[in-house]
Symmetry: C2
Subunit: 418 residues, 2 copies
């Protein structure tokens, strides 16, 4: 490998800690378990450290599926028209089979968030839809939390240049790496202990929200006056949780949110985005939508409106909510002041909502509910799941109890109770 | 990709021609066809050019499966004992499904031939066996020639250093690239025309051999006195041929051989290897074996004997022949004087035989024969197919006709007839 001879502008000790976090805290990998990993080629230095920690933790098979962004661009620019409505179904079905047989799922992200910004939006949308459709059986095993899974980030060069446009390449990669390490607690001497402590704090929040058992949340802020009904028998999640295979894992590294399933038909009012949304290589800014009966009936965006409308047109569920998440304005990622152009990070800087597919684990007894039962409780279903940020320093949230009484939850972007 | 900013010590024009050869001559890719490609990460510059030519030729889906040698080493060194008897069956089954649905198969090779030389031979053998077993359904579609397929090479750094141990890294890669380009006819102004001409020459050889319809070939040379019975209704192949899906392709780039299926039970005598055999990262030299009733009953090797014995112990068919191939000593690859440590090249420098699985396409009506019918004709069956070189400048070959009369085929390593 020629890469071996190239100095990576990334702290090797912290990179190794990040790999350890992915395997131990992220996946909670079990001895003898198989792992399927997707990663951009550029993330090989992290992938190799993860493989090492995974094998040492007793991983049986470690199967990498490496992606190259240049090949994606070549497809969009050179492939015949017929290509864009197809996907390699055999590969996605295989992944679903691997998960059904007990494999864990790890995704390393680090791609150029703007890769597709100048490509044909129609082709991109068709390609994404065909891929989503092929991927659905595998994605359902993840969104239903059948297996332990984890997403973690590596500082790719194009991503680093986007976040730090005024720095030299090596400096930008170094700075993004440090930001990833800090947000992922890989800068701590004992990162696993730091994660145990953080998970306990998130658990206290979600336990309190479960005890309150709100019927709805009312968000108020600049340009936002939105009431979000919560699904019947909803349950709050955050940090570590137990997959249906019994394994406790942290699906997202980093994570600062507690979140639950809204009622797909009980969302009313207007809401405005507070941070840009980087979606499949396009940037969508200043989203402003109106909900009625849970459905988006008006949508505007200051930038990327066509892309946003394409998301809404993906299927019937794309106009309804699948997630609502609470993140204090003082979260470390928000405090970093950086815009990461990546939902994994940016969603942990602010309260957010997601259009599309809900998480069944955010319903009591969700592990054993049929699709019909989930829908009956208000859980949304869709091929997409797109998070966007609606919280900021001026966000107030009230919880509306089942008897209609109000409980202050957030004031000026921060938790009211401890 | 950081690679973009690194000067590749490889001629870009010839690399692009090699990609064109892979798509047009190698695969004979059809409009609307899908392709599955395996490649080492290092071969991305060639993979991208191939994707471009494939899409322009009308490829529908181009699915790359990228491998990283460091991950292979990490597995051998860090994975638990239980790992080595398993393989990602879902991935190999998926590949078989893709081929069954009409996808073409492209393999880019360029790995370090000595990667596994210092690893635990027992683990390597178990890993190879588990992988072969999982891969068998997919491999059978290739060895049965159900689909169009092609193998082509990229000059990886570790490979280049092995072939040119006394040159600086960039110089070694450049020289190996030039050797690959020359052997693959990517150094010609019109490479597709050059391949058409070469394929016609190979066709004349195989047509003559088919007309002669020899019962056996008798090889004589230094340390070799071997009679190889040919399968009943055998057929000679070489260069371009038609897969069962009707597509004409060149499975190997480069290729200088004509080859057929021996009779698995009619091989008698002794034979000595004339070039080293690089097998799964180990080097096997000076092989000397005795056949009786088609089976190897004595085997020695000057170097790598344990690895060679492990091949023989793979299964019952590993001790019998699946292929015999004729290559003149004056072939361009032989004339280059290089040892490539890679069968794709080295087998085209000399007459060779292969232990293990036969090609059903080298039997008349082979496309429609059952496994039992292939066996009844003398076609061998095995999980392995391992070529090794037995020809040189002193090789004489006689064809033995069905009536027992002799026809000179090779004298002093060269074809006797035109």
């Amino acid at each position: 490998m020629q890469e071996k001879h190239k100095q990576q502008p990334v702290d090797a000790v912290k990179l190794d800690r990040l790999a350890q976090i992915a395997v131990k805290t992220g996946l909670g990998l079990q001895k003898g378990q198989n792992i399927v990993v997707t990663a951009p080629v550029e993330a090989l230095p992290l992938l190799r450290r993860i493989a090492c920690h995974a094998y040492r933790a007793g991983a049986n098979l470690f199967t990498p599926l490496l992606a190259d962004e240049e090949l994606t661009l070549l497809r969009l620019r050179e492939a015949p028209e017929t290509s864009f409505d197809h996907a390699a179904g055999w590969l996605y079905q295989g992944m679903a089979a691997a998960y059904a047989q007990g494999a864990a799922r790890l995704a390393i992200v680090g791609e150029n968030p703007m890769l597709l910004a100048n490509e044909d939006a129609g082709k991109v949308a068709r390609l994404n839809k065909a891929t989503s459709l092929a991927y659905k059986p595998a994605l359902e095993k993840i969104s239903n939390f059948d297996i332990n899974w984890n997403i973690i980030a590596y500082p790719g060069l194009a991503w680093a240049r986007l976040v730090f446009p005024n720095l030299a390449e090596n400096e930008a990669v170094y700075r993004l790496a440090e930001a990833i390490f800090a947000a992922s607690r890989a800068d701590r001497e004992d990162p696993l202990a730091a994660w145990a402590e953080h998970n306990a704090a998130l658990r206290r929040r979600s336990d309190w929200l479960d005890t309150e058992n709100f019927a709805a949340l009312h968000f108020k802020g600049k340009g936002t006056d939105l009431q979000i009904g919560l699904a019947e028998g909803h349950k709050w999640s955050g940090g570590a949780s137990q997959a249906k295979n019994g394994i406790i894992c942290n699906p997202n590294i980093p994570t600062e949110e507690v979140f639950t399933t809204p009622h797909a038909y009980k969302v009313e009012g207007i809401v405005q985005s507070t941070k840009p949304l980087a979606h499949h290589g396009s940037l969508i800014e200043n989203i402003c939508v109106r909900f009625k009966g849970g459905q988006i009936i008006e949508a505007k965006a200051g930038k990327g409106e066509a892309v946003f409308n394409r998301i809404l047109e993906s299927d019937a569920g794309a106009r309804r909510l699948g997630e609502v998440a609470l993140v204090p304005h003082s979260s470390p990622i928000s405090a970093s002041g950086l815009l990461f152009y990546n939902t994994l990070f940016d969603e942990n800087a602010a309260c957010h909502i997601a259009l599309g597919q809900c998480y069944s684990k955010c319903l009591k007894g969700g592990a054993h509910l049929s699709k019909e039962e989930i829908a009956a409780r208000g859980g949304n279903s869709s091929l997409v799941h797109v998070d966007w940020m609606i919280g900021g320093g001026d966000t107030d949230i009230d919880g509306i109890k089942q008897d209609g009484s109000l409980v202050p939850v957030f004031r000026k972007g921060e938790w009211v109770s401890a």
